[in-house]
């Protein structure tokens, strides 16, 4: 684990200014949800903070071809994989703290306030935080094995092709079931509040201790499974 921390520090030195640029843009565009888009824009903007910072880190490593240097250091390939997952986890947590704190600042004051205020407040709950962590974990856990298998460019292509296929499959299922509302439109319209509502039902059904334990378990299992898959892929890759 200490090697993984050292790798995170290495990433910090390499990408810290890029992370700041991502943070600045997220805070700037974070004002938009107050007046337009409400919860959806806030949610997407929030997700961008962690995912954008991670993407920058991977991008500059790819740009400067430093992966081979890192792999020449006294590390196993599995430690390098672990370092990336640790970084992703820390970015998700730090990004969550920042975006929730920012949300509270944005929505502070008396109601009714700007048009998007109520939608943002609806996300700033424990269930919203759980939804943020779980959804981002899933997105990262799906991406990293592709990254370690195919590299940044091909891995990203495969990942986004998969996401688009998922959305298309959802839209097709909607059409077949004649629900009248497209899956994509519903996801964009109800994604954030829908997730929060789902986690709220889960929390009221299970109670706090079980609910939190379940979140931790899902996180641990997802990262463990994904990181094992990534390590297997990375062990077989030529750098």
């Amino acid at each position: 684990m200490s090697s993984a921390f050292k790798l995170c520090m290495r990433d910090y030195f390499a990408a810290r200014w890029w992370w700041l640029i991502v943070l600045a843009s997220v805070l700037f565009f974070g004002l938009v949800p107050l007046y337009w888009g409400g919860s959806q824009a806030f949610m997407i903007n929030g997700a961008f903070l962690a995912l954008g910072a991670l993407a920058c880190t991977l991008f500059i490593e790819d740009m400067f071809k430093t992966e081979a240097y890192a792999a020449s250091l006294p590390l196993k390939r599995s430690s390098i994989v672990l370092g990336r997952y640790l970084l992703a986890g820390m970015l998700i947590l730090a990004g969550g703290l920042i975006i929730f704190a920012f949300g509270y600042v944005l929505t502070a004051g008396s109601s009714p306030g700007p048009a998007g205020r109520a939608g943002i407040i609806a996300l700033l709950t424990i269930e919203g935080a759980a939804g943020y962590v779980v959804v981002l974990t899933m997105l990262v856990a799906l991406f990293l094995p592709l990254y370690f298998r195919y590299g940044l460019f091909k891995g990203s292509l495969a990942y986004f092709a998969g996401l688009i296929a998922f959305l298309l499959a959802g839209a097709a299922a909607d059409t077949l079931l004649s629900s009248g509302v497209s899956f994509t439109a519903r996801l964009l319209k109800e994604g954030g509040p829908g997730i929060v509502a789902g986690f709220y039902r889960m929390r009221t059904g299970l109670g706090w201790p079980l609910f939190l334990a379940l979140i931790v378990l899902v996180e641990a299992v997802t990262f463990a499974f994904s990181s094992r898959l990534s390590a297997g892929f990375y062990n077989g890759r030529d750098l």
Partner: protein, 288 residues
């Protein structure tokens, strides 16, 4: 003398290039030059030693340990310089050092700072603003600052001025003086190897042509110069490679003494250089 590095039947198939059953040993306390034309497989061998690419078969044992099974332990005792400096271009040297140093238990900060001063590298300078030679010097400073027992250098002197090249060579010679450390040095600048190498491994088309002591090689081999009438199908078989010119031929032999006996005074037998060997065995009219 125990070997610090033992490579046995190492193979790697890239599809358009194959490294075939490469085997050689690097004894402790010696410098080995790895030579060969572009695309011969020198960098592939070094990458396989560092486990940057996956071998198809064979074994690599370093300090008696397997380079896959004991990867971290093995690499902690290796100092390396890649043919292209692989660093984050926009970082200052002190930050690049901060990225690397924590991974080595034996990191010697005083030595690193001394090397920076000796190499005239300001710690606050941004890496991208260094010349290629300066970048190589920085990579060398990192490689030499953690008391490595095996130094792997892939084309380290390309882009370096002659003064620094000589300085580097004398440093490498000094490193092996205590006879516990070794250097594997891939280069095109064969004159560097003639100065410092104890042994030479020649690789061509993914295969080892020879791996032998440098002094023995340069003593035994020779370049024959004579009239074209002496170069027949039969005599050509005696040479490792030859070049026919308008006024005579030049040929490489691995037994200069035998060539002298065979041709007598009708040919001139010159001392061979590593560059001659490289040339005749890769670009001559016939190579063996």
């Amino acid at each position: 003398m125990p070997n610090i590095l033992e490579i046995r039947n190492l193979s790697k198939d890239y599809g358009d290039f194959k490294l075939k059953n490469v085997s050689f040993e690097l004894p402790r306390g010696t410098i080995m030059g790895l030579i060969g034309p572009n695309g011969a497989g020198k960098t592939t061998v070094i990458k396989l030693i560092l486990n940057l690419i996956r071998r198809d078969s064979g074994t690599v044992r370093i300090f008696g340990l397997d380079n896959l099974g004991d990867e971290a332990a093995v690499k902690s005792r290796i100092g390396f310089v890649h043919d292209t400096p692989l660093f984050y271009d926009r970082l200052r040297l002190k930050n690049l050092k901060a990225q690397v140093a924590p991974f080595y238990e034996k990191w010697d900060e005083n030595l690193f700072q001394r090397l920076l001063r000796e190499f005239d590298l300001p710690p606050g300078k941004i890496f991208a603003k260094l010349s290629r030679g300066m970048k190589m010097k920085f990579a060398l400073a990192l490689a030499l600052s953690h008391d490595a027992d095996l130094i792997l250098l892939d084309e380290p002197t390309s882009g370096l001025d002659p003064v620094f090249r000589r300085d580097l060579l004398s440093r490498l010679s000094a490193i092996i003086q205590d006879e516990t450390k070794s250097v594997l040095f891939s280069t095109h600048v064969t004159s560097d190897l003639e100065r410092i190498a104890d042994s030479i491994t020649f690789i061509r088309d993914g295969e080892i042509v020879f791996s032998t002591g440098k002094d023995d090689l340069l003593d035994r081999w020779g370049v024959i110069k004579g009239g074209n009438d002496l170069l027949t199908d039969e005599t050509a078989k005696l040479f490792k490679g030859f070049r026919r010119r308008e006024f005579g031929f030049e040929a490489l032999t691995d037994d200069a003494a035998a060539a002298r006996r065979r041709f007598g005074e009708s040919v001139a037998v010159d001392k061979v250089t590593l560059e001659d060997i490289m040339f005749f065995m890769t670009r001559g009219d016939r190579r063996v």
